[in-house]
Symmetry: C2
Subunit: 201 residues, 2 copies
């Protein structure tokens, strides 16, 4: 097993490498990669040598090659289906975003409880009735879900997702969600992110 | 100066207390607050005693009183204006969200470069031309900005915001942004958050 801290750095390297590739950069030195990631170049070299020698002395690392290698180490080399619950402001923004597909994610299912939304299509995905959540998630074998419902609804929705076999949840609802041990959850709390930023002003 | 780790915990306590208040809970024990925040109750008591004795033995802490106190310690007891750059999927979702106002933030300005959007109103805010960014930010004395433009545009926009006197930036663009020392930046990288979640599946 690779140490969590190393894994954490690989995600940062991958993000920077994807940006470099978008700008057309073909090779990158451990110094340049280290600077952009705020990691010491010696740590970059150590991390990347762990997985095989990618770099050539004096030339640097091949950006595309490194992306492929890191994606495979991070289990990102195949498309992962996800279920979205709540097609409101945030839910619609995520369904409309083409970037998830290029990063290896497909929002395959979308649920809402508003009768005016159920049955409509949003960016190619049919909005389904949340009463069918358990059945549809098990039909499609989905393990990742996004919660974009109001705070008052989130605990109930999270419980149903866990019962339906979901193992990883990204939640935008700013409230603590008590999940079983085997369900990993990340809460993106935008207001708290802003509050943390302004505290240090 | 209060230690950063203590400050970090105060944000977590505040979030949980706000959820408890929303559910109508009036008092909370250090055990209950500790459980919800995944912090030892003894640490909760130590943190809260640092700022004055709020809790009464056997009764617990007054939720509303604690919220008020923590908000004032975290400089959140007055409304902070923010400028949004990019009124697309994410920008629109944030303008439409009433929760920022109750948390002490007002998206006072919104900029875009799309001529079809400039001049229109979105949730009560007029979308202004991004060419006026510097002038308008200094007119309104704004220090906080949100970047919701495409990745290719983000570095340039971030530079202009820093030049206009912005000191804190929340960015959704998944790319590193080189900011001067005195500009604090947080990047919410949704695809990487999802990738981190699924790695441990
Ligand atoms: N919009 C933002 O910028 C923003 C910022 C910070 C936090 N949030 C949080 O993100 C979450 C989503 O916010 P939003 O602005 O998209 O909200 P929204 O009200 O626009 O959308 C919520 C959607 O969820 C649906 N819904 C409600 N209960 C449901 C249930 N039980 N099952 C399925 N669908 C259900 C509603 O019909 C609606 O379509 C909220 O918890 C909010 O607090 C949003
Ligand atoms: N939508 C999502 O769920 C999502 C998920 C992950 C990351 N992101 C990132 O968030 C950012 C915003 O995404 P989005 O989906 O809202 O994009 P979008 O394309 O819907 O909106 C971008 C907006 O920015 C405007 N714009 C472009 N250049 C500008 C400039 N120089 N100044 C001012 N306005 C400018 C465009 O006219 C458009 O209105 C992007 O960087 C994207 O990669 C979005």
């Amino acid at each position: 097993r690779i140490a969590d801290q190393t894994i954490g750095r690989l995600f940062v390297y991958l993000r920077v490498l994807l940006c470099l590739a978008e700008e057309g950069v073909e090779t990158v030195s451990s110094e340049a990669l280290g600077d952009a990631c705020e990691v010491k170049p010696s740590v970059v070299r150590k991390d990347l040598s762990y997985f095989g020698g990618f770099g050539k002395r004096g030339v640097g690392y091949d950006v595309e090659g490194l992306i492929k290698e890191i994606r495979s180490i991070l289990n990102l080399d195949s498309v992962m289906k996800a279920a979205l619950v709540g097609v409101g402001n945030i839910g619609r923004a995520m369904l409309a975003y083409p970037g998830f597909k290029t990063e290896g994610f497909e929002l395959a299912l979308a649920f809402d409880k508003d009768p005016d939304k159920v049955g409509r299509k949003a960016d190619g995905v049919v909005i389904e009735d949340v009463t069918d959540l358990e059945q549809r998630i098990s039909d499609e074998g989905i393990k990742l879900a996004i919660i974009a419902v109001p705070v008052s609804e989130a605990p109930k929705v999270a419980q149903r997702l866990a019962d339906a076999g979901i193992k990883a949840i990204l939640s935008f609802a700013p409230c603590p969600l008590n999940m079983p041990e085997d369900v990993k959850i990340t809460c993106v709390d935008l207001a708290t992110e802003m509050a943390r930023l302004v505290y240090y002003l």
